[in-house]
């Protein structure tokens, strides 16, 4: 069968278009969804097809607009609220954490909140302190929320359709550098279930769990490690809540080495949670503890200055070197692969 190649951004656009066509209760809004940038193409042409009542721009009122999404969901609609930066979700935390996550529970099961909160994370160039944060662990902390963070175009479409059809609030996270990546995307609507991690590359020496953009970066690191004769297993959790620990545990039992390549700060992060659960599991099963390490953003605020920014983020070289250290301790080994293609080629300003 011939592959149908789309970018990640096109896959997101298609998921929304197909769901809006299928179900008239699906509608979307957010800052800039109908402008010429169209959230980097992810909403392109949707207003032309569905009209301004079903997809519209909003005032800069993240708090109220999140409440509007929840109120519309309480009335039976299925809103998608889109944010061009995840940093803006900080203005919506009260509505998401205090209402969306809790409504079904505290209202005794008498309501559902089928809302999707899309947000974009990631570096591109010099986005600095407040346009670079990936705050997904905040949402993992709260019962009642689903946290979805696909890394491939195929999963982007499938998990977004699943998010829209899910009767719970879903925080859906896209990395800027993934938007332009290409992959096979079937034309028909399909869903990708939550809570099933993908083993994207099999290997027996070390497991690398990548999150979001750190998935392709980890695959590149795996390639570098092959030169050193190290066979890497790369896992993409796809969703962080629910989190498929079974797939990760199976891999770690085999490789006895785990590196988390997180796309956020390691402290109290997704990687911290994964490692805590692994430690609990191995302890309970009376198994020898594997070697474990987290890699993520540097423990500082993200600077825009390029040499500093390059040190702030993990990259294929730092991931590969960390994995090598995990296996071989301090034995000297250096890899190449500092700056990946899409980062080197990126031009702003937006």
């Amino acid at each position: 069968m011939k592959e149908r190649i789309l970018t990640y951004a096109e896959a997101i656009r298609e998921a929304q278009e197909q769901e809006m066509a299928r179900d008239s209760s699906v509608f979307m809004f957010g800052m800039g969804v109908d402008d010429h940038i169209a959230m980097w193409g992810t909403t392109a042409g949707l207003q032309k097809r569905f009209g301004a009542s079903r997809i519209f721009d909003t005032p800069l009122s993240e708090d109220a607009m999140t409440g509007v999404a929840i109120g519309a969901a309480l009335a039976g609609l299925r809103p998608i609220h889109a944010h061009i930066r995840m940093d803006f979700l900080l203005l919506a935390m009260n509505q998401i954490v205090n209402i969306a996550a809790k409504a079904r529970y505290m209202y005794g099961g008498s309501v559902n909140i089928p809302a999707v909160f899309r947000s974009v994370i990631g570096r591109s160039w010099g986005q600095g302190a407040q346009h670079s944060q990936a705050l997904y662990s905040f949402f993992m902390h709260v019962p009642g929320l689903k946290v979805v963070i696909p890394s491939t175009p195929y999963d982007a479409k499938g998990t977004l359709i699943q998010s829209i059809r899910d009767n719970n609030p879903v925080v859906f996270i896209e990395h800027r550098m993934l938007h332009t990546m290409k992959g096979h995307v079937p034309a028909k609507p399909y869903t990708v279930p939550f809570g099933r991690a993908r083993v994207l590359k099999q290997g027996s020496d070390v497991t690398i769990v990548g999150i979001s953009y750190m998935v392709p970066e980890s695959l590149r690191a795996a390639h570098l490690l092959e030169d050193a004769g190290i066979r890497v297993e790369v896992i993409d959790p796809v969703t962080l809540a629910p989190l498929d620990m079974d797939t990760i545990l199976r891999s770690v039992k085999k490789t006895k080495h785990l590196l988390i390549a997180d796309n956020a700060w390691p402290t109290c992060g997704a990687g911290a949670e994964i490692i805590a659960r692994i430690v609990e599991y191995f302890q309970k099963e009376k198994l020898a503890l594997p070697k474990l390490e987290r890699l993520g953003f540097a423990a500082t605020t993200c600077p825009p200055s390029r040499p500093l920014e390059d040190r702030f983020y993990p990259n294929p070289r730092t991931i590969a070197e960390a994995a090598h250290r995990l296996l071989h301790g301090r034995r000297p080994w250096t890899a190449k692969g500092e700056i990946s293609k899409e980062i080197a080629e990126f031009r702003g300003p937006f």
Binding site: A64, G67, G71
Partner: protein
């Protein structure tokens, strides 16, 4: 002018007052092990507005929502059971007094975080518009403290921008917990602020249940006839009891009993009761007392949730 039945109004006012007095009476027994924010003194606002609404209309409230819940038709037995933490409660014992809900009659929930349900009412109104429902509106209830929140301003703006079918009811009881409006607002101009966002706004003095009903009825009519977008009312009222809990707090220094006096003198309960024939009034009161007794008995004998219920309803 279509006049409201005084019997209906009295029944609702009396029922809420007596339910809350009963809650206050029972509270020291520790059968209600959760905070209660009593509406005593403020019933007229919820009753006046709710009587002007239809069952399909949605209301969103605050943690002080016993009056709103009951006035809109919320189930009394389920409410008391909820306060008792019982499985038969309106929220299966998982919400408590601050989050009463009864979707069947359009009581769409209440929040303990001030201002939080305001945009939800606006979103519900957006959905009404989206679906093209003609004879339906949403109503947002909040206090003068809610006006302090940024989300109030954002919500006013969006509702007016979209001309949404929503009525905003500010229950101004002068206090955000123990902080007087004077200490929080540079100017006592809540209605001017609402007007600035592009909607008609009126201040209704004196906790006047008949006036509140009449204004709300006309507002609903204008909105459902497509003649108006959102409409705002600031209803002046007074909380007689503590911010939270069953007692009063005039000995605590932040307000005086003298401040309360005009509100007691102007109490809407005897005002409307005196418009009824004594026999009729007594019959209403007897029926309500029976209902309240039955509701507390129902709560008493209802089972607590099973421990497994701790984990149900987290996800749909």
């Amino acid at each position: 002018m279509k006049s409201i039945s005084h019997e209906t109004l009295y029944r609702s006012l009396y029922r809420i007052r007596r339910v809350e007095e009963e809650i206050a009476r029972v509270y020291p027994t520790d059968k209600i092990q959760s905070p209660v924010h009593l509406s005593i003194g403020q019933e007229a606002v919820s009753v006046g507005v709710a009587e002007a609404l239809k069952p399909q209309d949605a209301v969103f409230g605050t943690y002080r929502s016993h009056a709103l819940y009951l006035a809109k038709g919320g189930d009394l037995k389920k409410m008391i059971a909820e306060l008792y933490g019982k499985h038969t409660g309106s929220n299966k014992g998982k919400g408590g007094s601050m989050h009463l809900i009864d979707v069947r009659v359009g009581v769409m929930g209440a929040s303990a975080i001030v201002g939080t349900t305001i945009p939800q009412a606006v979103g519900f109104a957006l959905a009404i518009r989206y679906r093209g429902d003609r004879d339906r509106i949403a109503v947002s209830f909040f206090g003068d403290g809610g006006v302090d929140e940024g989300v109030w301003h954002e919500s006013m703006n969006f509702a007016a921008l979209r001309k949404l079918p929503v009525i905003f009811i500010c229950e101004n009881n002068f206090y955000a917990i123990h902080s007087h409006e004077r200490a929080r607002h540079a100017r006592a101009n809540i209605v001017e602020r609402a007007r600035a966002y592009g909607m008609p706004a009126e201040r209704i003095e004196g906790n006047d249940v008949l006036k509140i009903y009449e204004r709300a009825r006309r507002a609903r009519q204008a909105i459902t006839a497509g003649k108006s977008g959102p409409i705002f009312f600031e209803c002046m009222t007074y909380r007689w009891r503590q911010h939270v809990g069953p007692g009063d707090d005039y000995d605590q220094g932040y307000r005086t009993k003298k401040e309360l006096e005009p509100w007691v003198k102007n109490d809407q309960l005897p005002r409307i009761g005196n418009l009824l024939a004594p026999k009729k009034r007594a019959a209403i009161e007897r029926a309500v007392e029976r209902e309240i007794k039955a509701a507390f008995a129902y709560a008493e004998k209802s089972p607590f949730p099973k421990v497994e219920e701790l984990f149900t309803d987290v996800f749909a």
